[in-house]
Amino acid sequence: QQQVKQSPQSLIVQKGGISIINCAYENTAFDYFPWYQQFPGKGPALLIAIRPDVSEKKEGRFTISFNKSAKQFSLHIMDSQPGDSATYFCAARATGSQGNLIFGKGTKLSVKP
């Protein structure tokens, strides 16, 4: 069964610190890896995404690092802010899929002021 394993389940970071969330997968036929941010009572919102032909993608304070050989990818949030407190989901899409995203279990991030 295709799976995306996400860790940690929860994370507490001080304001200004770096938040790191990790994901690992088994299916080598994944071709798209988005990260979603979800606030309570809201739907997941696309934060940043990467394709397996690059090892890193940065957008503002958010960076995805991708290690194809290890089948791992991670989200780094630099200079974490209390407004970043949310649940973060990594996801993956299988090549040839019609958009079926397989989500990780989520990481609840709390950034303390």
Binding site: N100, L101, F103
Partner: protein
């Protein structure tokens, strides 16, 4: 900024009843999806829809579920005979298949409670 909208925000129903969850995808999008999220768990894919037909569905999407695009703007999910375990948040998403990577934009969800 265009967004996916969903109605109702909360639906309470009795077990065995039919429910219809409604979504208005972003207007120029062509691909539509339903996902669900049981409280405290991960988001799970249900079905994708393109060109007026189902393009992919998960094991969860059994004969009790159906989808429809009844007009040019709405996209609906029907559950024929609800079960207690159907209680979840249901998210609609849409995509314009930009660059072929189906960047999906999610609606705010409908919380379905089956009693």
């Amino acid at each position: 900024e265009p967004e996916v909208t969903q109605t109702p925000s909360h639906q309470v129903t009795q077990m065995g009843q039919e429910v219809i969850l409604r979504c208005v995808p972003i207007s120029n999008h062509l691909y539509f999806y339903w996902y669900r999220q049981i409280l405290g768990q991960k988001v799970e894919f249900l079905v994708s829809f393109y060109n007026n037909e189902i393009s992919e569905k998960s094991e969860i999407f059994d004969d009790q579920f159906s989808v429809e695009r009844p007009d040019g703007s709405n996209f609906t999910l029907k559950i024929r005979s609800t079960k207690l375990e159907d209680s979840a948040m249901y998210f609609c998403a849409s995509s314009d298949d930009l660059a072929g990577y189906n960047e999906q934009f999610f609606g705010p969800g409908t919380r379905l409670t089956v009693l």
